[in-house]
């Protein structure tokens, strides 16, 4: 390592062998997805090398892989990418009192809060998903999450009073957006917007724009592996390979697909949950009934943009495969793979899901469960 650094070469930023990749795959919290980049392509006299950097943001770890001609250029691009993530987090974070979202949450029940068109448009997009999913996706579930103990802790069963109180302070229909002045108004006090199910995807789309504007043609960006966006493809490849793992056996790969100028997001019940009297209560709420979703293990969604895949992975997790099919039919370029749990029996359901990527490694058995 020391001799490598003497040559002005930093191994932390350059991935040139596959063991670095498998370490990354193991380290991604949910370990649902991982990436394969053939080592061979870097041995060719290609003008670009693959660089990698990861930094904590938005309560997770953002990962950026990009091709650049040299380390100096790569580090400028990383700076620009992570600056953009910081900008988005500074506007949307619920954990910062200085954020625009905190300002809206603090005063939109008292009076209309005028916000900028960017934040307004994102809120509009979130509410549109609520409408299209008949409330399965809802950015006002914050109070419900807290009642079920999923805010900064591992969950608990709420009392009837707590639940009733939380439900009074939940509901996307209680948020009014006024297009004339870009203002937000809450019809009841206590409503709390939480963009946790759409904000990270939005940040990825913003980063993709920044990198494209800077001339990047091949990059993979991810927010803690739960949302991934692919710019172009690695040199000589059809796309960036992404693996969807079986939530019950992470070594078993359900599908390896190729992403190019597309996004993939995954939601899983295994991220945060608690068990009580033989039942499992996960952190993903069904806002329509005020309870955690049951019977769903994992959903992965492909969409043209990460804002959409992020929101949709939660929406379809709540809706289930049958109703999701109708929703996805109306949104161009989307596809989904579900892993459901019916009384302990795992079932895989695909909607428009692409075929196994042609260059997927053949080391894993395909589904046979």
């Amino acid at each position: 390592m020391i001799s490598a650094k003497k040559n002005g070469f930093d191994h932390r930023r350059l991935i040139n062998h596959s063991c670095r990749l498998s370490r990354f795959a193991r380290s991604t919290g949910a370990a649902v997805l991982c990436f394969h980049i053939a080592a061979a392509s870097l041995a060719l006299p290609a003008p670009n090398q693959l660089f990698y950097e990861s930094r904590p943001a938005m309560g997770t770890s953002f990962e950026v892989y990009l091709y650049a001609p040299n380390r100096e250029r790569a580090s400028q691009l990383f700076e620009a990418a992570f600056d953009e993530i910081e900008r988005v987090e500074a506007a949307l974070s619920n954990y910062r009192s200085s954020s625009e979202l905190s300002r809206i949450n603090a005063s939109a029940a008292d009076a209309r809060v005028v916000t900028d068109p960017e934040v307004f448009a994102l809120l509009g997009q979130a509410l549109a998903y609520s409408r299209e999913s008949d409330g399965a996706f809802d950015v006002t579930v914050g109070k419900l999450m807290k009642a079920w103990g999923f805010f900064r802790s591992e969950g608990r069963y709420p009392s009837n009073e707590e639940l009733a109180h939380a439900r009074e302070q939940t509901g996307w229909q209680r948020v009014r957006l006024n297009r004339q002045d870009h203002s937000v108004f809450f019809l009841v006090r206590g409503i709390e917007l939480d963009l946790g199910s759409i904000g990270k995807g939005y940040a990825l789309d913003c980063v993709a724009r920044v990198l494209r504007e800077a001339g990047v043609t091949a990059a993979l960006i991810s927010s803690g592996s739960s949302s991934i966006y692919a710019i172009g493809a690695p040199p000589g490849k059809a796309g960036w390979l992404v693996r969807v793992s079986d939530p019950l056996d992470r070594t078993h790969i359900l599908s390896t697909i190729s992403l190019k100028d597309q996004s993939l997001s995954t939601s899983g019940s295994y991220e945060k949950f608690f068990k009580l009297n033989g039942r499992t209560y996960c952190h993903i709420m069904d806002p329509r009934i005020g309870r955690p979703v049951e019977g769903m293990l994992q959903t992965s969604i492909i969409a043209p943009e990460a804002t959409d895949s992020d929101a949709l992975s939660t929406a379809v997790f709540v809706m289930g495969p049958e109703r999701s099919a109708r929703l996805l039919d109306n949104i161009a370029g989307t596809a989904a793979i579900f892993v459901t749990d019916r009384n302990g029996v795992e079932r895989i359901v695909r909607i428009h899901w692409p075929n196994q990527a042609a260059n997927a490694p053949q080391v894993f058995k395909t589904e046979s469960r």
């Binding site: 580090s75 200085s98 916000t115 068109p117 001339g215």
Partner: protein, 411 residues
């Protein structure tokens, strides 16, 4: 892009007047001063990263609309229109922008060397101005802006947004009342770990995008980062410095840049009061913070909060028993009194919900100034104080000697 073509392109209007005419809209007679109920129409000159950030903040103020976008770098128009959410008229020459009739005020967020030209032209067109810091690249530029504000009778606010942070006010007020005793020293840091270089899609845009790294456009770290700290020291001391010395160099990033990648500056104020500013670009341990040191305590001020610390009380406890029992002797030197204090401090409390965002508060306050026809708190005199200090500090670093403010300032 060389200097001449850069400046020419931004100021001489060589580009598309036909297009400018097509996109200009006339909304009736010019509004000035702004009535409290009125919509405020803003134009921006320089819609790059900082300009775009300011646009987002201004658009969070009720009744504000951007009615003109001016830049010389084509991709910024689309980016800025994405922020306004509408097909805002665009201009490639600031003079065409200033001919538009639906503008109440102009936001100037261009490179430092262009502040004076753009601010003065905007004021002369009868518009109020929110101008980014530092005030101007040279003493002449700073003086020109102050003079133009005076002549125009319009309002000017400089982009020292921390003047609008409630915890900054609390600190200045409490320290001013003597809570930490006589204030003798202020130490300000803005340390980062990065090259400060932005990615450039094509080498021909290097100087346009990385203008901060070139002396003809920029005052470097002193201006872009230090001006906030310098303004704060001026605010706390209630004065501008009497002299400045400094050092700095291009010691890490020898990549063709002309502005220093590290600076250390010592400002002396009246009565021996001293402000020391340091900026590094390869270690971010301390980040951006300011320490105020007084005889009885210290205050740590950051971009999000502030904390008071108090010096231990030395005198006061009865010690007569040592005359009976004697004092112990030993070979051990105790380091205790020399160790940094690592205990908790007393955080500055501002009313819940008023912490806010200094950027938004500054933008909101500017719009209020227009509606109430009131002088902004961070006015041109505030900007002048930090602006001339930045300029003379860079002169001192370059000359390698102490510079007396009185030798250069006639005010």
């Amino acid at each position: 892009m060389n200097r001449r073509s850069f400046v020419k392109a931004i100021s001489a209007g060589t580009v598309g007047t036909a297009f400018a005419r097509r996109t200009e809209r006339v909304h009736g007679p010019e509004k000035s001063p702004v009535a409290p109920s009125d919509q405020v129409g803003l134009g921006i000159i320089g819609a790059s990263s900082r300009g775009q950030e300011l646009m987002r903040y201004f658009l969070r103020v009720p009744g504000v609309r951007f009615t003109g976008l001016c830049d010389i770098y084509e991709p910024r128009f689309a980016a800025a229109r994405k922020i306004t959410g509408e097909e805002t008229p665009i201009y490639r020459d600031h003079r065409r922008l200033l001919e538009a009739r639906d503008l109440d005020a102009i936001v100037v967020a261009t490179p430092l060397s262009l502040h004076a030209e753009h601010v003065v032209a905007s004021l002369q067109s009868g518009r109020h101005v929110y101008g980014e810091k530092s005030l101007g690249l040279t003493l002449g530029h700073c003086n020109m802006i102050v003079e133009a504000v005076r002549q125009s009778g319009k309002h000017f606010q400089v982009g020292h947004q921390y003047r609008y942070a409630p915890w900054f006010h609390e600190v200045v007020q409490r320290a001013g009342k003597g809570e930490i005793g006589r204030i003798t020293h202020i130490y300000g840091y803005w340390h980062r770990n990065g090259s400060w270089r932005r990615p450039v899609p094509d080498p021909k845009f290097e100087r346009l995008i990385n203008w901060r790294l070139y002396k003809e456009y920029s005052g470097g770290l002193t201006a872009e980062l230090g001006s906030h700290h310098i303004d704060f020291a001026n605010w706390v001391f209630g004065a501008i410095p009497e002299s400045v010395t400094g050092s700095g160099g291009i010691d890490i990033y020898r990549d063709g840049r002309e502005t220093n990648d590290n600076v250390q500056i010592i400002f002396r104020y009246s009565g021996g009061r001293t402000f020391i500013f340091s900026s590094l670009t390869e270690n971010a341990k301390v980040g951006a913070e300011v320490w105020i040191y007084g005889k009885d305590g210290s205050v740590e001020v950051t971009m999000e909060d502030a904390t008071f610390y108090y010096e231990p009380k030395g005198a006061g406890s009865p010690v007569s028993e040592i005359t009976e029992r004697g004092v112990p002797t030993g070979a051990t030197y105790s380091t205790k009194g020399e160790m940094p204090y690592r205990g908790p401090g007393s955080p500055v409390k501002v009313p819940q919900g008023t912490e806010g965002n200094p950027n938004l508060s500054a933008c909101k306050s500017f719009i209020e100034s227009l509606r109430k026809d009131a002088r902004p708190f961070a006015d041109e005199r505030v900007g002048w104080g930090s602006g001339v200090s930045v300029y003379l500090a860079n002169q001192a670093i370059e000359a390698g000697r102490r510079i007396m403010f009185a030798d250069h300032l006639k005010r």
